[in-house]
Symmetry: C2
Subunit: 148 residues, 2 copies
Protein backbone atom coordinates (compact mmCIF):
# COMPACT_ATOMS: atom_id res chain seq x y z
CA UNK A 1 0.00 0.00 0.00
CA UNK A 2 1.45 3.30 -1.13
CA UNK A 3 1.12 5.93 1.58
CA UNK A 4 -0.17 9.34 0.49
CA UNK A 5 -0.18 8.15 -3.09
CA UNK A 6 -2.76 10.75 -4.05
CA UNK A 7 -1.89 13.48 -1.55
CA UNK A 8 -0.70 16.63 -3.28
CA UNK A 9 2.68 17.83 -1.94
CA UNK A 10 1.05 20.97 -0.55
CA UNK A 11 -0.78 18.78 1.96
CA UNK A 12 2.46 17.39 3.38
CA UNK A 13 3.30 18.79 6.78
CA UNK A 14 6.95 19.45 5.98
CA UNK A 15 6.02 21.51 2.93
CA UNK A 16 3.89 23.95 4.88
CA UNK A 17 5.07 27.53 4.45
CA UNK A 18 3.00 29.09 7.19
CA UNK A 19 3.45 26.69 10.03
CA UNK A 20 7.12 27.61 10.64
CA UNK A 21 5.90 31.19 10.84
CA UNK A 22 3.28 30.18 13.38
CA UNK A 23 5.84 28.27 15.42
CA UNK A 24 8.37 31.08 15.17
CA UNK A 25 5.85 33.57 16.52
CA UNK A 26 5.24 31.28 19.50
CA UNK A 27 8.98 30.89 20.01
CA UNK A 28 9.44 34.65 20.00
CA UNK A 29 6.89 35.09 22.76
CA UNK A 30 8.63 32.35 24.73
CA UNK A 31 12.00 34.04 24.25
CA UNK A 32 10.68 37.38 25.47
CA UNK A 33 9.04 35.91 28.56
CA UNK A 34 12.06 35.65 30.90
CA UNK A 35 13.14 39.16 29.96
CA UNK A 36 9.70 40.69 30.40
CA UNK A 37 8.97 38.82 33.62
CA UNK A 38 11.29 41.27 35.30
CA UNK A 39 9.00 44.11 34.26
CA UNK A 40 5.82 42.19 35.09
CA UNK A 41 4.73 42.41 31.45
CA UNK A 42 3.62 39.96 28.79
CA UNK A 43 4.83 40.34 25.22
CA UNK A 44 1.59 41.89 24.07
CA UNK A 45 1.45 44.25 27.04
CA UNK A 46 5.01 45.27 26.18
CA UNK A 47 3.95 46.05 22.62
CA UNK A 48 1.01 48.14 23.83
CA UNK A 49 3.32 50.13 26.07
CA UNK A 50 5.76 50.57 23.20
CA UNK A 51 3.01 52.26 21.21
CA UNK A 52 2.10 54.41 24.20
CA UNK A 53 5.73 55.40 24.79
CA UNK A 54 5.55 57.11 21.42
CA UNK A 55 1.98 58.39 21.40
CA UNK A 56 1.09 58.88 25.00
CA UNK A 57 -2.68 58.88 24.51
CA UNK A 58 -4.96 57.16 22.01
CA UNK A 59 -8.29 55.40 21.98
CA UNK A 60 -8.90 51.66 21.79
CA UNK A 61 -9.64 51.69 18.08
CA UNK A 62 -6.44 53.52 17.19
CA UNK A 63 -4.44 51.20 19.39
CA UNK A 64 -6.13 48.27 17.73
CA UNK A 65 -5.24 49.53 14.27
CA UNK A 66 -1.56 49.86 15.14
CA UNK A 67 -1.46 46.43 16.78
CA UNK A 68 -3.93 44.71 14.43
CA UNK A 69 -6.07 43.60 17.37
CA UNK A 70 -9.69 44.17 18.27
CA UNK A 71 -11.46 45.35 21.40
CA UNK A 72 -12.13 41.77 22.45
CA UNK A 73 -8.41 41.34 22.95
CA UNK A 74 -7.52 44.85 24.00
CA UNK A 75 -10.19 45.62 26.59
CA UNK A 76 -9.16 42.94 29.11
CA UNK A 77 -5.47 43.54 28.38
CA UNK A 78 -5.83 47.27 29.02
CA UNK A 79 -7.69 46.57 32.24
CA UNK A 80 -4.76 44.46 33.38
CA UNK A 81 -2.31 47.21 32.46
CA UNK A 82 -4.49 49.67 34.36
CA UNK A 83 -4.55 47.37 37.40
CA UNK A 84 -0.74 47.36 37.32
CA UNK A 85 -0.77 51.14 37.19
CA UNK A 86 0.91 51.46 33.80
CA UNK A 87 -1.99 53.04 31.87
CA UNK A 88 -5.09 55.06 32.58
CA UNK A 89 -8.45 54.46 30.91
CA UNK A 90 -10.60 57.57 30.74
CA UNK A 91 -13.66 58.45 28.70
CA UNK A 92 -13.26 61.00 25.94
CA UNK A 93 -15.18 64.16 26.76
CA UNK A 94 -15.70 64.91 23.09
CA UNK A 95 -17.18 61.50 22.29
CA UNK A 96 -18.30 59.50 25.27
CA UNK A 97 -18.13 56.25 23.32
CA UNK A 98 -14.37 56.46 23.13
CA UNK A 99 -12.06 55.22 25.84
CA UNK A 100 -8.81 57.18 25.95
CA UNK A 101 -5.79 55.13 26.94
CA UNK A 102 -2.89 57.12 28.32
CA UNK A 103 0.44 56.14 29.75
CA UNK A 104 1.09 56.83 33.43
CA UNK A 105 4.31 57.89 35.09
CA UNK A 106 4.93 54.31 36.19
CA UNK A 107 4.27 53.15 32.64
CA UNK A 108 6.73 55.62 31.21
CA UNK A 109 9.30 54.61 33.82
CA UNK A 110 9.27 51.11 32.33
CA UNK A 111 10.78 52.47 29.16
CA UNK A 112 14.18 52.95 30.76
CA UNK A 113 13.92 49.63 32.54
CA UNK A 114 13.32 48.02 29.15
CA UNK A 115 16.37 49.61 27.59
CA UNK A 116 18.40 46.41 27.41
CA UNK A 117 15.66 44.07 26.27
CA UNK A 118 16.05 44.60 22.51
CA UNK A 119 19.74 43.79 22.68
CA UNK A 120 19.25 40.80 24.97
CA UNK A 121 16.58 39.41 22.69
CA UNK A 122 18.67 40.01 19.59
CA UNK A 123 21.35 37.83 21.17
CA UNK A 124 19.02 34.93 21.83
CA UNK A 125 17.37 34.99 18.42
CA UNK A 126 20.74 35.40 16.75
CA UNK A 127 19.52 36.69 13.40
CA UNK A 128 21.73 39.14 11.52
CA UNK A 129 20.33 42.64 11.05
CA UNK A 130 20.03 41.99 7.33
CA UNK A 131 18.07 38.77 7.74
CA UNK A 132 15.95 40.40 10.41
CA UNK A 133 15.07 43.20 8.04
CA UNK A 134 14.31 40.67 5.30
CA UNK A 135 12.02 38.74 7.62
CA UNK A 136 10.25 41.91 8.69
CA UNK A 137 9.69 42.95 5.07
CA UNK A 138 8.29 39.57 4.09
CA UNK A 139 5.88 39.58 7.01
CA UNK A 140 4.75 43.11 6.21
CA UNK A 141 4.11 42.10 2.61
CA UNK A 142 2.10 39.16 3.79
CA UNK A 143 0.10 41.37 6.14
CA UNK A 144 -0.57 43.83 3.33
CA UNK A 145 -1.91 41.05 1.14
CA UNK A 146 -4.12 39.68 3.90
CA UNK A 147 -5.62 43.06 4.66
CA UNK A 148 -8.17 42.90 1.91
Amino acid sequence: MKPNSEAPPELLFDNQICFPLYSAANAIVRAYRPLLDQLDLTYLQYMVLMVLWQESCLNVKELGQRLRLDSGTLTPLLKRLEAKGFVERTRSEVDERMRMISITKAGRALQSKARDIPHQLACTIGLSAARGEQLKKLCEQLLLALES
Copy 2:
Protein backbone atom coordinates in the same frame (compact mmCIF):
# COMPACT_ATOMS: atom_id res chain seq x y z
CA MET B 1 10.03 68.99 24.86
CA LYS B 2 11.74 66.41 22.69
CA PRO B 3 9.73 63.20 22.64
CA ASN B 4 11.67 59.97 23.13
CA SER B 5 14.88 61.93 23.21
CA GLU B 6 16.65 59.16 25.05
CA ALA B 7 14.78 56.16 23.70
CA PRO B 8 17.02 53.85 21.66
CA PRO B 9 15.62 53.16 18.18
CA GLU B 10 15.18 49.50 19.06
CA LEU B 11 12.47 50.53 21.52
CA LEU B 12 10.40 52.21 18.82
CA PHE B 13 7.33 50.25 17.84
CA ASP B 14 7.83 50.64 14.10
CA ASN B 15 11.36 49.25 14.33
CA GLN B 16 10.27 45.98 15.90
CA ILE B 17 11.37 42.99 13.84
CA CYS B 18 9.32 40.38 15.61
CA PHE B 19 5.96 42.04 15.93
CA PRO B 20 5.16 41.85 12.19
CA LEU B 21 5.94 38.15 12.48
CA TYR B 22 3.54 37.88 15.41
CA SER B 23 0.83 39.77 13.52
CA ALA B 24 1.42 37.75 10.37
CA ALA B 25 0.96 34.50 12.28
CA ASN B 26 -2.37 35.77 13.60
CA ALA B 27 -3.36 36.88 10.10
CA ILE B 28 -2.56 33.43 8.73
CA VAL B 29 -4.83 31.76 11.25
CA ARG B 30 -7.57 34.25 10.35
CA ALA B 31 -7.09 33.54 6.65
CA TYR B 32 -7.38 29.79 7.17
CA ARG B 33 -10.51 30.05 9.31
CA PRO B 34 -13.18 30.40 6.59
CA LEU B 35 -11.59 27.57 4.61
CA LEU B 36 -11.28 25.25 7.60
CA ASP B 37 -14.73 26.05 8.95
CA GLN B 38 -16.06 23.85 6.18
CA LEU B 39 -14.15 20.91 7.63
CA ASP B 40 -15.03 21.80 11.23
CA LEU B 41 -11.33 22.23 12.01
CA THR B 42 -9.19 24.94 13.54
CA TYR B 43 -5.80 25.74 12.08
CA LEU B 44 -3.95 23.82 14.75
CA GLN B 45 -6.27 20.84 14.48
CA TYR B 46 -5.63 20.88 10.72
CA MET B 47 -1.88 20.79 11.36
CA VAL B 48 -2.24 17.86 13.76
CA LEU B 49 -4.22 15.97 11.16
CA MET B 50 -1.63 16.81 8.53
CA VAL B 51 0.99 15.08 10.66
CA LEU B 52 -1.31 12.11 11.16
CA TRP B 53 -2.07 11.84 7.46
CA GLN B 54 1.59 11.03 7.00
CA GLU B 55 2.32 9.01 10.13
CA SER B 56 -0.94 7.46 11.08
CA CYS B 57 -0.03 6.71 14.69
CA LEU B 58 2.25 8.45 17.19
CA ASN B 59 2.27 9.35 20.84
CA VAL B 60 1.67 12.77 22.35
CA LYS B 61 5.34 13.50 22.86
CA GLU B 62 6.27 12.72 19.25
CA LEU B 63 3.37 14.82 18.02
CA GLY B 64 4.51 17.62 20.30
CA GLN B 65 8.03 17.48 18.92
CA ARG B 66 6.85 17.79 15.32
CA LEU B 67 4.49 20.65 16.18
CA ARG B 68 6.63 22.28 18.88
CA LEU B 69 3.79 22.12 21.37
CA ASP B 70 3.44 20.55 24.80
CA SER B 71 0.88 18.30 26.42
CA GLY B 72 -0.88 21.28 27.99
CA THR B 73 -1.88 22.37 24.51
CA LEU B 74 -2.18 18.99 22.84
CA THR B 75 -4.20 17.02 25.38
CA PRO B 76 -7.36 19.16 25.19
CA LEU B 77 -6.93 19.60 21.43
CA LEU B 78 -6.67 15.85 20.89
CA LYS B 79 -9.74 15.29 23.03
CA ARG B 80 -11.65 17.69 20.79
CA LEU B 81 -10.41 15.86 17.69
CA GLU B 82 -11.44 12.59 19.30
CA ALA B 83 -14.89 13.99 20.11
CA LYS B 84 -15.28 14.87 16.43
CA GLY B 85 -14.27 11.34 15.52
CA PHE B 86 -11.11 12.24 13.61
CA VAL B 87 -8.56 10.58 15.91
CA GLU B 88 -8.43 7.79 18.45
CA ARG B 89 -6.55 8.00 21.77
CA THR B 90 -5.45 4.62 23.05
CA ARG B 91 -2.94 3.58 25.68
CA SER B 92 0.27 1.94 24.53
CA GLU B 93 0.41 -1.66 25.66
CA VAL B 94 4.19 -1.56 25.79
CA ASP B 95 4.35 1.51 28.03
CA GLU B 96 1.15 2.42 29.76
CA ARG B 97 2.28 6.01 30.26
CA MET B 98 2.06 6.67 26.55
CA ARG B 99 -1.08 7.71 24.76
CA MET B 100 -1.12 6.57 21.14
CA ILE B 101 -2.86 8.95 18.77
CA SER B 102 -4.10 7.40 15.57
CA ILE B 103 -6.09 8.72 12.66
CA THR B 104 -9.56 7.32 12.09
CA LYS B 105 -11.32 6.64 8.80
CA ALA B 106 -13.25 9.89 9.16
CA GLY B 107 -10.00 11.69 9.88
CA ARG B 108 -8.35 10.27 6.79
CA ALA B 109 -11.38 11.17 4.72
CA LEU B 110 -10.74 14.83 5.53
CA GLN B 111 -7.54 14.68 3.53
CA SER B 112 -9.37 14.59 0.23
CA LYS B 113 -11.82 17.24 1.41
CA ALA B 114 -8.83 19.44 2.20
CA ARG B 115 -7.31 19.01 -1.24
CA ASP B 116 -8.09 22.54 -2.42
CA ILE B 117 -7.20 24.40 0.75
CA PRO B 118 -3.48 24.92 0.03
CA HIS B 119 -4.26 26.48 -3.34
CA GLN B 120 -7.09 28.63 -2.00
CA LEU B 121 -4.89 29.90 0.80
CA ALA B 122 -1.98 30.57 -1.52
CA CYS B 123 -4.31 32.83 -3.51
CA THR B 124 -5.35 34.88 -0.50
CA ILE B 125 -1.85 35.29 0.89
CA GLY B 126 -0.52 36.07 -2.57
CA LEU B 127 3.16 35.41 -1.88
CA SER B 128 5.26 34.07 -4.73
CA ALA B 129 6.68 30.58 -4.28
CA ALA B 130 10.17 32.04 -4.05
CA ARG B 131 9.26 34.52 -1.33
CA GLY B 132 7.28 31.85 0.48
CA GLU B 133 10.31 29.61 0.49
CA GLN B 134 12.47 32.48 1.68
CA LEU B 135 10.05 33.22 4.54
CA LYS B 136 9.93 29.57 5.52
CA LYS B 137 13.74 29.35 5.59
CA LEU B 138 14.07 32.46 7.74
CA CYS B 139 11.53 31.19 10.23
CA GLU B 140 13.23 27.82 10.40
CA GLN B 141 16.56 29.51 11.08
CA LEU B 142 14.98 31.54 13.81
CA LEU B 143 13.45 28.41 15.33
CA LEU B 144 16.78 26.65 15.21
CA ALA B 145 18.43 29.51 17.07
CA LEU B 146 15.70 29.63 19.69
CA GLU B 147 15.91 25.90 20.34
CA SER B 148 18.90 26.21 22.61
